[in-house]
Symmetry: C2
Subunit: 430 residues, 2 copies
């Protein structure tokens, strides 16, 4: 962890800059895979599964038997934990439902908005070192609350063609039956175009490595919506002399274990505390199994000593995915926060609570994207359609306004659609 003492604003600009991701490297691979999946469907999926994931597979859909086996394999204790998390996530996201409220903007002019679930959505769950069944909850539950008709989940199998049982258990628990054993670029291509056995979708969600990220960006260019642009996970922790260094160190380490490109940023007005946290990191690191990952990601990580007055502006400039406020002046900071994905307030609110079970979503904008994007929520799974209904009185009230504006924009047919109705009403009254 590099420590910066009282950097000025020019220095801060450099310090807070994230590494530029080089996504172009994989762009050609992505194009090739998409092209082949578009033209050859399942056959191409099989070939790429062999090539990239080293697995021979031609039936992709998880069978009922596989679901049943998975359910048996998951320990009871984990089942209960997943159920508790599901309950909290359901509670928080259900509350995001919007009631239809009809606004009469003028007498006889009624306007409203209705949320409707996106008919077909796709969820990608990566394989790799951590089986992210928690992400199944975070994406599957709002999809179901939103009323999405078709939820497709793709996740890569291991070399034996098996999927982690906790992922299958969780999918089944929340009612996702269409789970396909496909990974990487070919999974995103399959959900984009559809194949003989995999349905196409309108929007694709979920995390992934640089290949999956590049594939989602490519899908977006050919008109499939995606949850948000992706980057490495990150946390910014704010502490002061009153914070417990054990808690701060544990929170920084929990972020650092995600991957070697994860970034943790510590900001404090106390140089002593920064030193203590650094020492504590070394102590806690000793016993962590993902130590080698953590050591690499700590190399990208920084601690900034600054005056209290600068902290809010550093937060907003960095726009962290996760922001932990562990100071004696949290309330002051909250008032000034403009850019952050999710904020964790107080010493008993570690990021890992929100990562798994508190109820908030853990799919959040990284890479400074919280300046313009929200994390995943119920909103991500619906479209909001506007409706309007104008009565005879309404058209009389609004008609003139529309006629004048349409004429001023030179759109006389727009004007005429009003005039013809107003004239009709005059005739009616004769």
């Amino acid at each position: 962890m590099k420590i910066y003492l009282n950097p000025n604003s020019t220095e801060l600009k450099v310090i807070l800059q994230r590494k530029v991701l080089n996504e172009n490297l994989v762009e050609n691979t992505v194009k090739d895979v998409f092209e082949k999946v578009k033209n050859e469907g399942d056959k191409a999926i099989s070939e790429f599964s062999k090539k990239f994931d080293n697995v021979n597979i031609s039936t992709f859909l998880i069978s009922k038997v596989e679901f049943i086996e998975a359910i048996e394999e998951v320990p009871e204790e984990l089942k209960n934990a997943i159920s508790q998390a599901a309950l909290n996530i359901e509670k928080f996201h259900s509350n995001q439902k919007e009631n239809v409220s009809i606004i009469e903007t003028m007498e006889g002019v009624k306007c409203w908005r209705k949320s409707i679930g996106i008919e077909k959505v796709g969820i990608y769950i990566p394989g790799g070192t951590a089986p992210l069944f928690s992400t199944v909850l975070m994406l599957g539950i709002p999809a179901r609350i939103a009323g999405c008709d078709e939820i497709v989940l793709c996740t890569p199998p291991d070399k034996n063609g098996k999927v982690n049982p906790a992922i299958l258990y969780t999918a089944n628990l929340i009612g996702i039956s269409k789970v396909y054993k496909i990974g990487g670029i070919q999974a995103i291509a399959a959900m984009t175009y559809g194949t003989e056995s995999i349905p196409n979708v309108y929007k694709i969600f979920g995390p992934g490595n640089q290949y999956v990220t590049a594939a989602k960006q490519y899908a977006q260019q050919i008109n499939i919506a995606i949850d948000m642009p992706a980057g490495p996970s990150e946390v910014m922790v704010i502490c002061d002399e009153t914070s417990k260094e054990q808690f701060i160190a544990a929170d920084l380490l929990s972020q650092a274990e995600h991957g070697i490109d994860s970034q943790v940023v510590l900001v404090s007005d106390s140089e002593d505390k920064i030193r203590l946290v650094n020492d504590e990191i070394k102590v806690q690191l000793e016993n962590l199994p993902r130590r080698s990952i953590i050591e690499k990601s700590l190399e990208n990580s920084i601690a900034i000593l600054t005056q209290k007055i600068n902290i809010v502006s550093i937060i907003n400039q960095y726009a962290p995915e996760h922001l932990i406020l562990n100071t004696s002046f949290n309330e002051e900071l909250i008032l000034g926060i403009k850019n952050a994905g999710s904020v964790f307030i107080g010493e008993f609110t570690p990021e890992s609570a929100g990562d798994y079970a508190s109820g908030t979503n853990h799919t959040l904008p990284t890479n400074g994207f919280s300046k313009q994007y929200s994390g995943v929520s119920l909103d991500s799974f619906v479209k909001k359609i506007t409706f309007q209904e104008i009565s005879r009185i309404g058209i009389k009230n609004i008609g003139k306004t529309v006629e004048i504006m349409a004429e001023a924009e030179g759109l006389l047919a727009h004007k005429n659609a009003i005039t013809i109705r107003l004239n009709n009403l005059k005739d009616e009254n004769k």
Copy 2:
């Protein structure tokens, strides 16, 4: 208008297919302009304004004097109309504000969500044949309600370096002071990178020609958010034997006058009515100034005769930007609608009411994008940040769940961030 009588589902798939837009043509131009604006700033903007818009300009910001002159130039009647429209749009969009509601998912685990305006947003208003001051209202009003700190508006000047007065009047009315006389690709590039005189923004909104569309897509690839992908404007009108052909024809024509690539689609269970509407189109067309545009766009346009039972599925398959329901069975249709941008219900609800003044937004998903995108709303100008605060009791309640899940995902540092806190609480109680 091509008329299709009772097409089957395979035929419908072809009939409802939109023309594929060829955006690659302008991609290289876009890249070049972006590169030059990035490196040379204002100087590049001046050069491109000369090259593309044939105007010599080096001061881009609209001055106070220009605003004052514009205000004087706009006729009183138009000012009143714009004010009425602004009032309705304000009313409808203000109602989209979300109250913060704190959810206690478990005792001691409090989660909430807060909407915060995107700090810097950019609005593009095209020049060309129609001076779209209505779009200034549609984008500027929600931006202001959202609390966006900096609203930048770019619009191309005419050959004399002037901007349409109604655009300036409207911007001034709703409190947008940063209006720049820049058009096309260079405007989008300026808002992406910022120059000496034009601020960069985090999200870009607004319509435009194929160059602007391609520029926005390019901006999105380099991490600027955009309102939504764009395509030609379109309407689908549903009518039956009870509909007045004059109204239907007027609505179809008002859509057709937008541009030669606009598409209008008529769907009916009455062949007679389709013929009558077609005849009526010819009559009304005679007196319309944009007749040559309309005739071209009618060439892309279609009428479909089908059974009543098929109509909902045709709507959802086409996913129209604008949908007008002018039948005796509107209520039945509404229940089945899943994909549409904005729906106009009943014979006195023409699209042009919503285009200008009823209160709903007119920036809507075209090209079938209403399957996965909403139109512009207050949501488009905010990020929703989640917050959580866990008490001592809360961490005891949720701790075990998080520990078990983190361990099952192999993320032991995540688990440790909980364990260290639970242990601390045990020590406290000793």
